[in-house]
């Protein structure tokens, strides 16, 4: 049986925190550069130039791409034939704390949502899954709240058509408007339960490529087109690029329902992963 020590995991998580927050994902950067090439509106072009330049400076000078380094979400897939010496969850939390400290990142998370105040929480939300094999895959997704605040959930009737679902997703982006740093990547979760649809939407943001499901990829393309017709544009100043990409993730659901959750990401969609 393969063995990993918890200290090793903490170190990897710390590095992922710095990488995710300072180095923009290559697939996102590629989409931004593509949007810049296609953009005609001079204001939108300037905004996109600033965004691309920002990513360059952040990587070069070890600065956070955005000051909102967010609430760290950690997805851990633990192989069932792997043994960990020590406490996995503690290791992840220690790693997050060390990484956020090393990166000089902002202390954005407070311990008590009701009392507020300055009691800082240095942990993360951890989603742990047990999978086949003997590896540990860790993915860190820092969630800034400018865009997290624009999340929406709707429990549709099972007989709802594609048109209704699309309308809800497009309306969610319209409501976000210029507030959440467009151009967006729109994560959508369809199926499961109310809470699970939210998680699907978040996980959808991690995908860099195209969906392998035909129905999903067609829906994504149609939504991208519809959303870009809104004309919000980079910084909300008009232009072609309101949305860079729509990522949908689905899961089986009940015959009585159809949960749809939308989790918008700002243009600084950050995540980093490692497999041990």
């Amino acid at each position: 049986m393969k063995i990993i020590r918890a200290v090793k995991i903490a170190k990897v998580v710390a590095d992922l925190c710095v990488k995710a927050n300072c180095v923009l994902r290559s697939d996102v950067l590629r989409k931004l550069k593509e949007a810049l090439r296609k953009e005609k509106n001079p204001r939108a072009k300037n905004a996109l130039k600033a965004i691309v330049e920002n990513a360059r400076i952040a990587q070069k000078e070890d600065l956070a791409i955005c000051q909102d380094t967010g609430l760290p979400i950690v997805f851990a897939e633990l192989g069932r034939d792997l043994r960990i010496i020590g406490d996995l969850k503690q290791a992840i939390i220690k790693g997050v704390e060390a990484g956020y400290c090393k990166g000089n990142f902002r202390e954005s998370i407070i311990r008590d949502p009701l009392k507020r105040g300055r009691s800082v929480y240095r942990g993360a939300i951890i989603h742990l899954d047990v999978v086949r094999g003997s590896k540990l895959k860790i993915t860190l997704l820092p969630r800034g709240f400018g865009c997290e605040n624009k999340s929406r959930l709707k429990m549709f009737n099972p007989t709802a058509g594609f048109a209704e679902i699309k309308q809800f997703i497009v309306d969610t982006v319209r409501e976000a408007g210029a507030d959440a740093c467009p151009p967006y990547v729109v994560g959508v979760g369809i199926g499961g339960t109310a809470d699970y649809a939210g998680l699907l939407a978040k996980k959808a943001l991690l995908r860099s490529g195209v969906s392998s499901k035909k129905t999903v990829s067609v829906l994504e393309k149609e939504l991208l087109f519809e959303i870009n017709k809104l004309g919000i544009g980079p910084m909300g100043l008009g232009g072609k690029a309101t949305c860079l990409k729509v990522n949908i993730r689905t899961f089986p659901t009940h015959i009585a329902g159809l949960p749809v959750a939308v989790n918008i990401s700002c243009h600084a969609l950050r995540s980093a992963g490692a497999t041990l």
Partner: protein
């Protein structure tokens, strides 16, 4: 490209229109949710404020920590609309410029018009880039709020876009 300096001059502001690109230099103050709530409470209870709001500019920002030898960490704008409920009162007490991202409520637009103030947009989601325009930062109030405390920033040629002008006209169309 117009250049403006703080403290803001009424005349200078009056010449700005939605969509104008400006370079701002001088002292500005960071302030976001909790500092706004606290200043509002202080005004209502007739207590003093940590900063002089007269002709001042507030930047809706909670920066990352500064690395050694640097004045500030990543420092982009936060969503302005969360400060909408507090803004008219601060305008009444002399605030004349706000920097943030996204739209504002109709009440804020009306107050901006009434007090002849201006709302500017900073490059949203570009916190690393904006560090280039910040020459120095020093604590200016409510230090217990950590990243939400008030900082006095000295900025040079901070590139902004006029979003709402002194006549209450908005770059986003109707508020």
């Amino acid at each position: 490209m117009k250049r403006i300096k703080t403290p803001l001059e009424e005349k200078e502001l009056a010449g700005l229109e939605p969509g104008d690109e400006v370079l701002l230099s001088g002292r500005i103050y960071t302030s976001r949710d909790q500092a706004h709530a606290r200043m509002t409470e202080a005004i209502r209870k007739r207590k003093g404020l940590p900063i002089d709001l007269r002709r001042a500019v507030i930047y809706y920002c909670g920066p990352a920590k500064a690395a050694r030898g640097k004045p500030i960490g990543s420092c982009g704008p936060t969503t302005s609309s969360r400060m909408d409920a507090f803004t008219p009162l601060l305008l009444k007490y002399g605030l004349r410029g706000m920097i943030g991202k996204g739209g504002r409520s109709q009440k804020v637009s009306q107050a901006i018009k009434k007090y002849k103030a201006v709302y500017f947009l900073a490059p949203a989601g570009c916190g690393a880039l904006i560090t280039r325009y910040v020459k120095s930062a020093r604590p200016a109030g409510y230090q217990d709020l950590g990243p939400e405390s008030i900082l006095e920033l000295e900025v040079k040629d901070f590139p902004l876009i006029v979003a709402i002008d002194t006549k209450g006209r908005s770059i986003y169309g109707k508020a």
